[in-house]
Amino acid sequence: MLDELEAMQRRVERERAARIEAETLLEKKSRDLYAAMQEGEKLTAQLQQAVGFQTRKLLNAQRVAKFGTFVWDIAEELVTWSEGVYSILAIDPAAEQLSVERYYESVHPDDRDALQKLIENGIKDGLAHGDEFQTTHRILRPDGEVRWIKGLGEFTGSDTGPVDFMFGAIQDVTALKRADDEVHQVRKNLEERLSDLEQTRESLETARDEANAANMTKSRFIAMISHEIRTPTNGLLGTLGLLGESNLEPSQKDLLRVAASSAEMLRVLLNDIIDFARLETGQIQLERADFSIHDLADQLVEFWRPLAEVSGNELNTVFDKRVPDFVHGDPARIGQIINNLLSNAIKFTKDGSITLRIGPVGTEQSVLSSGHLKIEIIDSGKGIAKEEQSKLFKEFSQVGSDESASNRFYDSSGSNSGAGLGLAICKALVEQMDGTISVISALGAGSRFCVKLPLGAAAHQMAHSETVAMNPLITADGRKPVALIAEDVPANQMVARLLLESFGCIVDIVDDGVEAVAACKRRKFDFVLMDISMPRMDGVNATKMIHTVSDDDALEPPPVIGLTAFAFTADIDRFHDAGMCDVISKPIHKETLYKAIQAVLQNKELKITETAASSGDTAVDIKALKSLTGGLSTQQVLDIVTQVSVDLDKLRRDAVMFASNGDSSELGRSCHAVKGLASSFGAQALAELAQTIEASARSGDAEAAFATTLKSFDPTTDAALAVYKNYLANYSSTLNDN
């Protein structure tokens, strides 16, 4: 067992050993610690260097970006500012320490309150962790320079408690702001300029509209004034026509012909001007109707053929078999176009050929399927130079206007105006129909005008009525019928006139109802072709006026044939009530018109019978006939008048035979017999003619007697016989009625 002392010794030994070990360990730890410290210092130095570098980098970046940062300990009211903030504010950090108050002082007085409120209210109103704010304000540097600052801040704190820090950054955005201002200024300037331009444009548009309106007014004025000029021109032509029917010396007739041609040319010119002005002001309305393109082309070609032949030209029509007979469109306007082009072709072609070719566009099977019609007028004339072709369709331009005046003189068709409007009107009309017009030509190589129109085939291909022999019409007294056309559209005037002239009528034209009434007072017409829709006075009222006026007038009222584009039954009744004896719907069908006129000319005798007292210009004085046969029975009257007709016919044939044989004494005897018989039974014209011939034959002027007989005896006698025939027909129908 250990004794106490030994145990104590051992414990001391043990503790000493432990102490020595502890010291050794301590010594070792100390050395380790020292080494660790050395290492730590080295690392710290490295770290500081790195941090310093990063800081310099950051500060340089801030300086370059004109950027500054700050950390604001709100509770401690302490702000740490980066160098950037100092340089932005131009404050020397060595000389002065920034504070929140000092920052507010730097803010431009105009922005200071707003900024202060923004931040202080933000703090007061309990901004939460993560809230951000943004501000743009100006600062005033010590040297007075104003800079624009953009500030951003974020509040931080615990999730629940109040915010205690604000991290923020400010940036000098003066350059940006200035650039922005400049952009704004530039934009503002641009907007101002734009607005100026807009105003200029508006005023230009206003000016243009005014100019257009003025131009339209001018066009309307031209149309109106031309119309006003045309009215007296029509009067002039009518009067010249009357004058032409009177006995004139050959030299006087020549002068009259020149006067009439000039007046006609004037009217044609006016028509073109009116047409063009109306086209320009959009006053021309196209009609839509089914019509025969064959008939239209034939009529036009036949009209122009004599004139073409005078210039030694051959005039041909070529119809492609794919063209249907009836198409749908405005026949008057299409006729006007073809007419113009034919007129031009004839005018510029001598001893050559002119062809009107009508066919489908392209290689379509028919016009029906293509819906387009191609009208070509090809001439072998002098052609048009390339540089002149572009001017061709412009108004008031005349290509090849060196043509002699006599050429235009011939042109009484209403197509070659001489005003240079013809092709311009064609173009305007074609374009209004949604078509095209073009020309292919070269000097000396002829011209080819090509019109393409969207004309469909007519819904129903009408069968032509049986061909009626359209011999020239004559009145009951054997004259050419004198007709009045009352129609406001020049193209329709032209179509109507072509037709009536082809029937052998002498034609006078007026533009409206007022003129028609005046013309009927001025001159005796065999019939009137009256358009229903006309300016100033329409056809219905004009017809009423014509029939009213004639009561206290020397002239007998002429029968009126109405013309209307829309032939409704109710309207037709109205037209008849007004006194029209027939109504024809447009487009005019040649045969229909012929028959209507024929009927009117025959009906007219009935009217003569009833109003014979006023007749002084007819083949037979019915009043005289009536008084001669007064008291006789109907049958006796019929027998006598029949006998008179037979006798007169025989005497007439004898007289003509004697005149042909040159037997003046026998001619004188026959005429004497005719004179007696004719004057007894009211055929005053025939009686006078017979007396004149008898006198010539007996006075020794046999040649004059023969010539007059051969020229006038047949028609005059025919006229008288026709009256008797109608009288008989009328009389016998009365008999039957009774």
């Binding site: 145990a7 051992r10 000493r16 050993a17 432990a18 730890k29």
Partner: protein, 182 residues
């Protein structure tokens, strides 16, 4: 193992015996270090086991009882001797036990990277706390004593029961801690 356990163990023996007996125990243990431990040193854990065996044979006391008692006294010594290891704001035993692994052993590992503290996990279920102890050292009885010392330190009348009968060679154990007895 950390030197502090050895110095505390020597102090424990010295505290409960006379100088002669305690020197006998140390001598009989035949330690490589001759019992000259310092708190900052590191020593093999079987030195401690030999010391416990020696004490048990000389004091004629079962070694597991010695270990359990050592654990009970060790807790307060550690708390007072190393307050920096202990978490703040902990004022009850169960809270403390629940952060032993996550807080204390984590701190120990930070300071002494080559140390290997035991795994101590806690689960609260059915009105009791279950503490699981796992170590490569047979110190389950020291652990039990430490838990009991902890309860005594916070002056709480908790009952600590081992799931199985433990001896001086057990290196793992499961303890149930009841507030109102099992």
């Amino acid at each position: 193992m950390k030197g502090i356990i050895f110095t505390e163990l020597v102090n424990f023996v010295e505290r409960h015996t006379s100088t002669v007996v305690s020197e006998q125990i140390i001598s009989q243990a035949d330690l490589n270090t001759k019992g000259a431990f310092t708190a900052v040193g590191n020593y093999p854990h079987d030195e401690a086991l030999r010391l416990v065996s020696s004490a048990a044979s000389i004091l004629k006391t079962p070694p597991e009882d010695l270990m359990r008692q050592f654990g009970r006294e060790l807790f307060e010594h550690l708390v007072t001797g190393h307050p920096d290891f202990f978490p703040e704001h902990i004022d009850d035993a169960l809270s403390f036990l629940s952060v032993v692994q996550s807080h204390i052993h984590t701190e120990v590992k930070k300071l002494y990277p080559d140390s290997s503290p035991p795994n101590v996990s806690t689960v609260v279920e059915n009105g009791k706390m279950v503490v699981t102890y796992e170590s490569h050292r047979p110190f389950a009885m020291i652990a039990m004593g430490l838990i009991e010392g902890c309860c005594a330190y916070f002056d709480e009348s908790l009952t600590v029961v081992s799931e199985s009968n433990l001896g001086a060679t057990d290196n793992s154990a499961t303890f149930m801690i009841y507030a109102n007895g099992p």
